[in-house]
Amino acid sequence: MNATLNTQGFKAGMLSALLLLLILGVWHIATTGPATPAAAPAVTMTAEQIEYAKLMGKDPTAGAAPAAAKSGFPTLSQMGAVIVKHASEPFYDNGPNDKGVGLQLGYSLGRVALGFGLAALVAIPLGFVIGMSPLIYRALDPFIQVLKPISPLAWMPLALYTIKDSNISGVFVIFICSIWPMLINTAFGVAGVRREWLNVARTLEVPPLRKAFEVILPAAAPTILTGMRISMGIAWLVIVAAEMLVGGTGIGYFVWNEWNNLSLPNVIFAILVIGVVGMLLDLMFARLQRAVTYVD
């Protein structure tokens, strides 16, 4: 059993590596295709044509030097250089508009942590109440159903107007998008705790608070954690968009700023970073989830 699993894991890893190589290969071939035929050599150009070419960012007098792709898709080596550059100094800080990618990530993670934490503080107790009381559940259900599908970014103008602080508005948007999965999953988990366990608790005359913490919470924990994991995924999706909208700091702002400069290598780099961080966050919750899972 173990051996087959191992070989299967090995095979899957090989396949992943192969796919990666394939992607990189396609990228390489696509970006280093036949160089566009160079413009007429400098000798045949008039002075004005030469100046025009220079103003357009191509220097015909520089001989065969490759016309640097100004904002086109980067080649693999250009991409590598960008990654090395960012990775070598992730925490530089040149004032409010120019910070290293590590610092920007820090801002984004901070906002997500704050918004997500607040959402958890509200959603989990509320979810408990809703899960334990069918009456409240039915009363709140219409509100939840209407509010849940709203794109969190749609809240942004309203948040900016009422909260009057762009930073807090960003946190609010994370809060509002991560609250629903946690709320619904908590309610679902709490409502689904097995009758027998509750009955045992009642027979033993366990006080309500103790019942909540020692019977219901552990029983519902896997479902709650699932909600938190979904929420975190959504929050990480939304923070990038929110920061692109509000700007200032964060990885989303980094993407926006590089988009201004039409700098695809930097944008691709940011995309990779966002993906990797998102994966790490998800792994973290997967671990937590495994820790609280039980077999009945």
């Binding site: 103003l55 904002s71 004032g95 409010p96 900016l160 009057k164 926006w256 039409l262």
Partner: protein
Amino acid sequence: MNDADDPHGLYDADRPLRLGCSCGAHASASEHAADLARSMATTELRARSETAAFEAESRRFVEASLIKALFPEDSVRRNFLRAVGQRTAMAAIGSVLPIASLQAMAQEAGKPGTLEKKDLKIGFIPITCATPLIMAKPLGFYERQGLNVEVVKTAGWALIRDKMLNKEYDATHFLSPMPLAISMGVGSNATPMRVATIQNTNGQAITLHVKHKDKRDPKQWKGFKFAVPFEFSMHNFLLRYYVAEAGLNPDTDIQIRVVPPPEMVANLRAGNLDGFLGPDPFNQRAVFEEVGFLHLLTKDLWDGHPCCAFGTSAEFIQAHPNTFAALYRAVLTAAAMARKAENRELIAKVISPQAYLNQPETVVNQVLTGRFADGLGGVKNVPNRADFDPMPWQSMAVWMLTQMQRWGYVKGDVNYKQIAEQVFLLTDAKKHMASLGMKPPAGAYPKFTIMGRVFDPEKAKAYADSFAIRRAAA
């Protein structure tokens, strides 16, 4: 200079600069060189700004801007001076504007007690219009006034408006119609905003997608999709004016959308737009990327039109008059410097890096020096493509109001002059003058010409009603 000071021989005339970055802080030698050139440009500009000659000049420049604001028409200024005498006039001017103690401030700058607030946040959009406001930071003009200013890049004009209303920013780079609109409560809650000075004149262009090279006549533009940076912008008003003069109704024959300037080129490339009337450097960037060409510079529609402004809320000025005066001085000093052609190339170096415009230096350079590729294969030389003239402007504010009326942004009658003078800081000045027993100058409204049509601010209502193509006010 010995080796300890300069271990890599950067400043050694006898040794070539090593290939590969010698200081280790940059990924490549060219990047290192660019950084070096940038810091040298900053040093050079700083040195130029610290000469006695420039200081005297910038002081005159600040004063002249004030007087021009009060007396846009020279004959009025001279009559006024003759009537009250030079000395009284100087005293009066010194006392009326909220920038009252300007000269005194200059001498006291740096003394902490005089400033009500020293740590300020100023918003800007990464466009060349903001040049004076931006360059004042790396060149230390704010510091020299005793201010600790953070200039913050902002993602769009709506956000600038919201952050001003939120008081996240103390002062900001505005589109010049914005303070009028915000003060009137059009498109936001009414909050009195004040304009300290115009940032720049000219410097915008109509850029079209390269596929439209043969459609140079706006009559052929039916169905085009255009972008402007904001509804309350000179860009929107000028584009509407231009196509309407060609017989197109901008509300029905073309589509005009609001796109933040930095996103215009990406949208043009993607084919979402056929063109835009936008701020530089994005017009030039579109040319540089070979996706667009410059159809015309807005200078050719109305030479010397205002574009962006530097302003803040009335509340801020009231609470912090000295801070405001210091800011005003810093920004105008920068404008005085930016106006000079010989500084432009260096300024391009200073403001193009990532923290500010985040654009290739050659693009910014072409915009500021006015020697540029037009996207059609030609090199043009237009030294006044962009200028930073803090000129008088309440008459131009009146024009903006007529256009806001024309396109239905404001309904009903507009008291043009009252709004213009309030926003442009003249109401307080005139009140003060009257209380000093002086007759406030009249005739502050010179005429000007836009695409061959003369605008007389004294007949603004008739002008606003004279257009055949307009949106009927409800």
